[in-house]
Each structure stands twice: as C-alpha cells, then as structure tokens.
C-alpha cells in the first residue's frame, strides 16, 4: 500500500471511511466525521497526532460508524487543507480519471 504519511510528518489529520456507503471522512474538532477535509482537525507534532488518532479510534468501536481509521499527512495551502500524498489526494478528491466523480468538483485543479 502506498504510504499515507512519511516518517517525521509534522502536520496530520485522521481519516476513515463511512460505514454505510464507504465515503471518505475526516475527524473534526467536534468529534464528528465530515466528508470535507476542510472540516478536519489538524494535529501538529507527534503527540498531538497520536492523541487525535486515539480519539478517532474511540469512535471506531463499538459505535461502528466508520472503519479503517488512520493518520495521514496534510499541508496547509492558500486553497485550504490538502493531502500530501498522491493516494490521499485521490481519496480527498476522487479518481483522477473521472474528474466528474468524487468530491473534486468542489476542489478545482486538485489533480493538476
């Protein structure tokens, strides 16, 4: 599997897939799961990241609302929060070969 976060990543968020339909979601400061990365809580540094992941996982079981919870690296850009890796950018936006599908309609130029 392509890596989600490189070693020593400083800025991270927590992601998962929604149980009912598999849609990519992000952990928010209100302990909810949002389909938009812009709503995600961002953790800076290792300790904050681990704490954020632990919070995501408490909602993982036995509530059963999301699955596959993990940390990944993000960047703050002028256009908002963007995933750092190709894999997470594709999860954030949708397939690069079907730009009409996924969430990329709201993320102009994300695959450019």
């Amino acid at each position: 599997m392509a890596q989600h976060s490189r070693k020593g990543a400083q800025v991270q968020a927590v992601t998962a897939n929604r149980l009912t339909d598999g849609v990519v979601v992000y952990l928010t400061p209100q302990n909810g799961w949002s389909p938009s990365l812009q709503d995600a809580e961002i953790a800076e540094g290792k300790e904050a990241a681990e704490a954020l992941l632990a919070r995501g996982q408490t909602f993982f079981e036995p509530g059963n609302f999301v699955l596959d919870v993990y940390l990944f690296e993000v960047e703050r850009t002028e256009a908002g929060i963007r995933a750092a890796s190709v894999r997470e950018t594709i999860r954030q936006a949708g397939p690069t070969v079907r730009v009409d599908l996924g969430k990329q309609a709201e993320l102009e130029g994300v695959h450019a």
Binding site: M1, A2, Q3, V23, V86, R91, P95, V97, R98
Partner: protein, 552 residues
C-alpha cells in the same frame, strides 16, 4: 446458456437472505468490522479508496442480453452509471453503498447472478476462452468443463479456506486465449491417439509478487476423472501450502519449492487414494445434461463469402480497419466472431457505461443469439454473428463508441483500476494506459506496429497482468511518488513467459516516452513478419536497454 436449476436458485437466494441479515446487524452495530469483513468479502464486497466495491461473478465470462441489461440497470440505480470489466471476466461496481448491496444481490439473483466466491481464499470464478463454442479447431466447448467446475467448487466445504485465493482457467483450442499457464490450475482439453477427449492439467502458474509459469502435472486425465484429479491437486495444496506467510502461500510457491516432479507424485498418490476411497466420478448423463445448455445456436446454412461486406469495406476505411482487427474467424461458414473494444482512445480500459451495456444487449439480441462474452483482456465479444450483418453491427457499435478498431493492437491495453480506485495500489495505472492510447491513436501506425499487448498494474498483486504483457508496466511507490518499472517479453498464451525487467523505473513523466522508445527500436530492427514479442525473443533485452537508458 446454462440456466439455474432449483438447487442453484435456492443456494443463491438463501445466501442473499443471509447477507441481508448480516448487513443489517453490521449497520445496527451488532457486528464489528472484524466480524463483518470476512462475511462481506465472501459476498464480493470490498472497501476501496472512495467507496465499497462490489465484484459480480460472470461465470466463464458468458452473459445473456437480459443479464447485461440488468447489470446496466444496477450500475445506473445503485452506482454511478458504469462498471469495470476485469481480467477475471467479472464486473466491478466502484461506488455501491453497503446499505444497498442486499438489494443489488436480489436484483442479480433475479437474473441468475451473484457475487459468491469473488473474493476470499476459495476457488474463484473459472475463466475461459471468450471464443468458446465458436473458435475454429476447438475440441469441445470449454464452458461445459467450466460449469462442472463451478458447480463442484461453489461452497465446497473442503476448499473454502485455502491458504490463498485459487484460480482455474480452461482452454479447448491449441491457441490459448484464456492464459491457462498463469493460473493455479490450467485445464487444456486434448484428444489422445484413440480420439478420446481428456485434459492436460497445468498446476502452479500465477502472477502476483512472484510470477511463475505453470507446470504440466497431468498429461491426460480422462473425462470422468477430472473432478477427482482437481480434488487431488487442491487437497495436496490445502495440506501442504503455507499458511504462515502470505507472500508464499500460493500453490505457485509449493510447486516451485518441491518441484513439478514431486508435485506430480503427490497428486498421483492422492488421486490413487481418492480412487480407492470413493472417487467423485462424473456421470456421463450429467455431463450430457450440462452439455445441452451449451449446444450450438441455430446456425443457418450460409456461404462463407460475403461480397456485400467486402464491397462496403472497400468503400469505407473505418469499417475495413474494424474488420481487420476486431473480427475473427468463426468455425461455421458465413459467421464471424465480433470483438467489442472497451478501449476507446484515451478512455479507461474495461469501463462500460449503462447506456453502452444496453446497446450491447440490444445488438446481441438482434444479431448474436442474445449472448455476450467478457474477454480477460477487458473487452466484450459477440461470438456468433452472421457475416452479412457485420456492417449493421459495426454501425450500431460505432454509435455507442464501441467500435474502436484496435483489438490486439497497442491501444488495446489491460490495466487494473490502480491508485485511482484501489486500496492496495501503489501507483495509478489507468492514466498511464490512457496516455499511451493517446500517443499511439493513429490507426495506421497501430496496424504497422502489429499485435502488441501492453499490460499495466498499479501494484505487485498484478491484477493488470503486467508480467505477461509483451510490454509490462508496474507502478511502484518511491517515497510517495509514482514510478513505473518496465518489463519486456511477457506472454500469456501457449508460449507463456514472464517479462524481463529492462532496468531502473521511469517517472510518470517519462513512462510514455519509454514505451515510444521501445516501439521505435522494435520498428527499426524487426524482420519481416515479426511482432514486438518475436523481435525481443530474437535479440533479447540489450538493444532496447541501450536506447532506453542512452541518455543516462
């Protein structure tokens, strides 16, 4: 075509009801994901990057028009209006919601379809020649054996938890279109000196992390003994295959480690044991019963010449190009096999929209006895078309962007879904295939290059069959960046071979130029009548390597 009997129907309906209950319990939080995952996988439900993915079994790639229409309907109502035909002759939906899947399974059951054994360490969909029943020189319709294997392997209690997934393919012509030598078991229908039909059994072929060509273990297995013999192979594997290390758990490793001779000895020993203790013999009447489902359609007696078609081809180059590459010879005079390219220039290999599926269903109903095949190369086939209907069929296909004249040529590529969809992928496959397709879109250039298979996988699992592409491309991840490793000289047919790595991987920006360099080198040095594979086999890697890495 095979029709479900009462047992098939009951099995499938019971399974749908069972899964409906399991989904409800999962959504209600009564089952954890750890408990639910093996259950959903047994029903073909994966979790991919953006959504769930549902893999629908298409036994030996044969579909009726009615089934194709149902698939179109399901893709439209429960998905995003398209599906992806795979190298296992199956169909994958990329966006179904878990809560809808029981309803999808109900819809599938209504046309005798399901998703059982499309995942998990069991015997998967048995694949076959997409020209089955229509190919010249065929000894019998290979789908008869496939259907027997399907019935035997469905919910087989002993083989439901194998060390690894298990794939079987069957071919009944000398020219192998089903890639049987890269399957866990490849069955080749053969005739012995006395004219009796039987089976060669090839064991231990496979792609994935360590690609290996299968070894011939059974030289001539009599018809009545086929299931007992397969049982012997599976039992040896089930007992001796590794369960402690995923990457060495396939039968390929077992055969590789103990050698073909030892494997043969173990299988023979087990086979003898089975014979002593009550062999599963195939009663002739049961074979006959299944064979009837695959009886040839009501062919008309026709002349093989079709002057009106020749005249139209002389006038219309696009039609002539299509005839040249997409239409193959049929065993019955006056008929042809029509390949439907799912590789329009610059589009996703194997993708098919609901509208296209409906067009194919209509065309098949009107011109091809309502039957459609899926080819492992991710195309569709109409196996029985009257030659005199070819122009009308071409027109109808062309209207739905289904007549790209490229079957077997450089733009007819196999590509897995890759990192655009797949949770396991390291790199994208589809955009690479699309850019190669754009680069070589000129039909005359494609014909000049000749038969050339480019296969691309987005990870080492090799769903895109890259090891057996004449040119193979494997996507790898280097510190979050996509790179592409190139192999040359792979082949999936009766001359099966694993491609050789040319050298260091190329970046996404370099890969299409690298393919271009390989093609140009081949065109420069090829001898008359050679395809790229022949040239490679004659000269080896060196001339290609020199050109590819000249600047480095």
């Amino acid at each position: 075509m095979y029709r479900y009997d009462e047992f098939d129907l009951k099995l499938v309906n019971e399974r749908v009801a069972q899964f409906r209950g399991q989904v409800a319990r999962r959504l209600a939080g009564e089952l954890s994901e750890d408990e639910f995952k093996p259950l959903r996988l047994m029903n073909g439900v994966y979790l991919q990057l953006h959504a769930y993915m549902l893999r629908i079994a298409i036994p030996y790639g044969t579909l009726s028009s009615r089934q194709v229409r149902k698939l179109a309907h399901i893709a439209r109502v429960y998905d995003k209006g398209y599906g992806h035909f795979t190298t296992r002759q199956n169909l994958q939906l990329n966006w179904p919601a878990l809560k809808d899947i029981p309803a999808v399974l109900d819809e599938l059951a209504s046309v005798e379809m399901h998703c059982i054994q499309t995942s998990g360490n069991c015997i998967r969909n048995t694949t076959s020649d997409h020209y089955a029943g229509s190919a010249p020189g065929e000894l019998e319709d290979p789908r008869v054996v496939c259907e027997i294997i399907r019935q035997w392997s469905t919910f087989h209690p002993e083989f439901s938890f194998l060390p690894r997934k298990f794939k079987i393919a069957v071919s009944a012509t000398e020219h192998d279109r089903a890639a049987i030598r890269v399957h866990d078991i490849g069955v080749q229908v053969v005739k012995n000196a006395t004219g009796e039909l039987g089976y060669e059994v090839w064991v231990g072929g496979g792609l994935g992390r360590t690609p290996i060509i299968g070894k011939k273990v059974g030289d001539f297995v009599p018809r009545a003994d086929l299931l007992s013999y397969l049982e012997a192979v599976l039992r040896v594997y089930n007992m001796s295959g590794r369960r402690d290390y995923l990457y060495k758990s396939g039968i390929t490793f077992l055969v590789h480690e103990i050698g073909a001779e030892e494997m043969k000895r173990l299988v023979e020993e087990e086979f003898e044991e089975i014979r002593k203790t009550g062999a599963l013999q195939l009663p002739q009447e049961e074979v006959d019963r299944i064979q009837k489902y695959f009886a040839p359609p009501a062919y008309e007696t026709l002349s093989d010449a079709a002057p009106e078609i020749d005249a139209l081809a002389a006038k219309e180059k696009n039609f002539a190009d299509w005839l040249k590459t997409n239409v193959a010879q049929h065993k019955v005079p006056g008929y042809a096999i029509v390949n439907i390219s799912l590789k329009p220039i610059g589009k996703t290999p194997g993708d098919c929209s609901s509208e296209q599926m409906e067009a194919v269903a209509d065309i098949a109903e009107k011109f091809a006895f309502s039957e459609v095949r899926v080819a492992h190369e991710q195309n569709l086939t109409l196996a029985n078309v009257r030659k005199k209907d070819l122009y009308e069929v071409w027109k109808a296909l062309d209207a739905s962007e289904l007549a790209t004249p490229n079957v077997g040529l450089i733009t007819d590529q196999i590509a897995c879904p890759g990192l655009d969809y797949c949770n396991l992928a390291n790199a994208r496959s589809i955009p690479i295939a699309q850019r190669i397709s754009e680069r070589f879109k000129d039909v005359d250039l494609q014909q000049k290059i000749g038969r050339l298979h480019i296969n691309t996988s987005g990870c080492i699992n090799a769903c895109g069959h890259h090891h057996v592409g004449h040119i193979g491309i494997l996507g790898v991840d280097k510190k979050g960046v996509e790179y592409y490793q190139v192999t040359l000289g792979g082949a999936a047919d009766e001359t099966a071979a694993v491609g050789e790595i040319v050298g260091p991987a190329f970046t996404e920006g370099e890969i299409v130029d690298a393919v271009d360099t390989i093609v140009k080198t081949y065109l420069d040095i090829r001898k008359d009548g050679e395809i790229l594979l022949d040239t490679y086999r004659r000269v080896g890697l060196q001339p290609f390597k020199e050109k590819l890495y000249a600047a480095h």
